[in-house]
Symmetry: C2
Subunit: 205 residues, 2 copies
């Protein structure tokens, strides 16, 4: 069963809370405000979440699950490294641009004061994703070098490391929410090929 059940009341709470946190600020939004916006009693809200910290943690955790379900899981089916990188760029940009999840995923990037133990759990998942992208960049670079060697060349070491390339790509994609406008010229259909081109040309020696 998908974790994306639209009738799941917990997900509705997270989505509404994420919207309020962004409109009014995290500290300025009370549990009461969240309950009111959802037409829930305060008890009804506390039935699902004990505290605002828990809601914030679950929003961030849900954002990481969305990344798992919609980026990482489909990638398992893509064997070729370069094709896997192209697919990752496309799927990650699609998640970032998804009107349904934008409010959830944006919360990953704001510096909200989460209790250290919860903050650590989110950061661990973020790091796993960064390492996945870094490893994939390295595979794509190695594949290109092998191809060149097979063709009789002696390829130079790539000038952009897999790690710098991973941070560059994640910056490009995760920054989109800062400038994206649903009515603007840059949309998924022209943004995805351009960002893919820029990264793929950039990482080869």
């Amino acid at each position: 069963m998908s974790r994306e059940n639209p009738l799941d009341p917990k997900q509705e709470i997270l989505r509404t809370a994420a919207r309020l946190f962004q409109q009014r600020g995290y500290d300025a939004t009370s549990m009461n405000d969240v309950a009111t916006a959802l037409k829930l009693s305060k008890g009804g809200l506390y039935h699902h979440f004990q505290s605002k910290d828990e809601i914030l943690f679950e929003i961030m955790n849900h954002a990481m699950e969305i990344t798992q379900d919609r980026v990482l899981t489909p990638l398992r089916l893509v064997a070729d490294p370069e094709e896997r990188l192209r697919t990752l760029i496309r799927l990650h940009i699609e998640v970032v641009l998804s009107p349904r999840d934008r409010e959830i995923t944006v919360m990953l990037h704001e510096n909200h004061p989460l209790p250290p133990s919860l903050r650590k759990r989110i950061n661990t998942r973020k790091k796993e994703y960064i390492h996945f992208v870094e490893k994939l960049m390295a595979e794509v670079q190695e594949q290109a070098q092998k191809r060149e060697r097979a063709g009789g060349g002696s390829p130079a070491k790539p000038r952009v490391s897999a790690r710098a390339a991973a941070f560059a790509l994640l910056g490009m994609i995760n920054w989109i929410y800062q400038w994206y406008k649903p009515e603007g010229d840059l949309q998924a259909h022209n943004l995805i090929p351009q960002f893919t081109d820029l990264i793929l040309r950039g990482i080869f020696a």
Copy 2:
């Protein structure tokens, strides 16, 4: 005279307030907290700033002035477009990594609830910078095409538009604060050439 006078009490207030806002959250930090951290009386603080909103606006405004003084102004001396782009990437990364200003510049990116008129003034300055970078990308691409034509070639249209390239670059650089560690392997001396390489190779046809 430089706007970077280290004895300017206003700048000390902005730097301390920025640090508190990041550690505790903007809403959770009171004017009293700011005054206490600076060993100022509340009256002493209000002598310089009327409200927390004013402090937040002045932090963001100061961050834009730092960009003006340390990125845009020195660029006026660089005539060649490609060299100007290389210099911009270096200077902007240096500002982002500057220990002295990191707390100030980071504030530009967080979604704090600034009154609309003040928010608009910051956004106008941000947009001016984006347009400057976009125009520079277009110049670099044109220059490369001219060079190719002069050599007898018929250059293809660049596959990455100046606008997408500008957003990509600003994302790469402005995202650094999310992963940068002063003790990590990636520092200015190896990060600047890698990000420069990635962008320059990426934007040509």
